[in-house]
Amino acid sequence: MPRGTIVIDAERCKGCGLCIAACPQRVLAFSGSLNASGYDVARMENPEACVGCAFCALTCPDVAITVYREKKNA
Amino acid sequence: MALRQLLRGNEAIAEAAIRAGCMCYFAYPITPQAELLEHMARNMPRLGRTFIQAESEVAAISMVYGAASAGVRTMTSSSSPGISLKQEGISYLAGSNLPSVIVNVVRGGPGLGNIAPSQCDYFQATKGGGHGDYHMIVLGPSTVPEAAQLTTLAFDLADLYRTPVMILADGLLGQMLEPVELPEPIDPASLPRKEWAATGAAGRDPNIILSFDLGPDNLKRMNEALQAKYREIRKREIRYEESDVADADLVIAAYGSTARIAKSALQMARAEGLKVGLFRPITLWPFPYDALRAVADHVDTVLTVEMSAGQMWEDVRLAVAERAKTPFYGEMGGVVPTPRSILNEVRKDAR
């Protein structure tokens, strides 16, 4: 399995939870901390499980997620 | 070489529009402006320009909104019931500062009315028939050659002020045959580029066409900008014609076809020794209040004649401001005043 990671733009996140439901690896969860707009933002709870599939990012209505994957021969 | 042709008012407007570089024309059929639509149907495609018989007047004016957004000269035409349907689009055109030309060949109303000549849409045209604090320039030709001239002017004013301009004609003018000297066709490519238009954001920031802002302060600013534009137009673009007013005791105020009929009445009255003049607004918005007031200062009577129940009459009374008597003679429902019926009114009032 390749390793991946994501960066969530916390100020864009509206805490809708769709990324949490979309993640096949169950990486994401609500953080419990609110952003400036008062939304409970999503965050990586099990970062080591992320495979960089980008399902969360495809799902995110607010385009808050950037996805990275380990370079193949790195 | 300028060409002299025998044309109906409707055809003269259509041909002048083509010569003014109108690239896109959209309309829905209605009498009495069908010849305009038909002239465009015959000629626009052969020039590589757009003619669409739209599914409705609402659609036609929305297509005009699109073509104007994309920066080309564009026009629609209709008659009274169809112009009612265009009010939404006209309001949006005004709010979004989009140059466009709308022709209303007015017929009898209200409702379906009839297809005979009328001037019963003056309020709708000059006071804002759609929603919002807007105006459009309204031009009232009284002869076929003038209809052609004012069509050229309409396109120029529309571009200059980024505003919809209406040509307010009537069924009489639309159908009337007269010799017309048409202007030389202009090359649309020679027109100044519209830097604000939605033409693709290549090498510049995006252009956004809109009439909308949720913030009251911003929308107020947009409205103030519109009003500033209207002040400019009022300052620069008022047009009217005076005939025999210098020594007149009575001046007839009339526009469009009615003014032309009134001119015959004027000659008959003069032949009887009555000192009668004619004041003919050419821009119905902006209305020539000051000029008419100046006339009212040295006459006893300003007689308004219209094919309506007295719509321009309100502007005449505003202008005259009790400096003179302001009687009214109107016909409705497609009944056209004759020189003699106007003369009868003149005789009554000149006494």
Partner: protein, 252 residues
Amino acid sequence: MPVDVARMTKVFERPKSLTEARYTYCPGCHHGVITRIIGQTIDELGIAERTVGIAPVGCSVFAYLWYRCDAVQVAHGRASAVATGIKRARPDLVVFSYQGDGDFASIGTAESLHAANRGENITVIFVNNQIYGMTGGEMAPTTLVHQKTTTTPDGRDPATCGYPIRFSEIIATLDAPVYVTRQALYDTRRIQDCTKAVKKAFQNQVDGKGYSLVEILSTCPTNWRMSPTQANEHVANVVTQVFPLGDLVDRG
């Protein structure tokens, strides 16, 4: 163990054709996903400099703020007619309209149908969320039978309100359209399918093929009074029963 993103490959980022502006949409609303898909399509086709988007009236009234391309905000329902005007004036431009179900299939019925019937070479994105989002959740022409809205408080009664209109099917009866499809976004597979459909609808226009319509079953968690995840399930389990997914016309 922390990961060092500098040594990794970026596999997903905000499309370049999207501005930095934050959407005015409610949490979990699919309008945002659709906007992202369009931005990504504009990027992939390299057409940002010749694209003109049309912002309708509805929750997406601010659509002119989301893209780095020219845009025109238009009257409720008239987007397809305005698109016609732009495209006829400048056939070299790529013109897309973005319209809600109220906009496209109710007040804009005539404009929508006739632009399709003329085969205008435009791309129409039709967002079917079965409700009037912006005005507070009133019945849409697409509202499901028995669905409660603020104007059908006891549920849509077909006896007085008729049935949900399948507008794409109506358009599919016409001869001119080259591509008519219904897509959804309730899971990643559907999102990927929808992305392909949107790209095809734009590509058709770029290739001069003609009218393309992508209807997208969207959510309105706010007015459906559901969580965003419940709303997704509702689309998957209920809405697609009334509005089946798939291509209706493909003359590409």
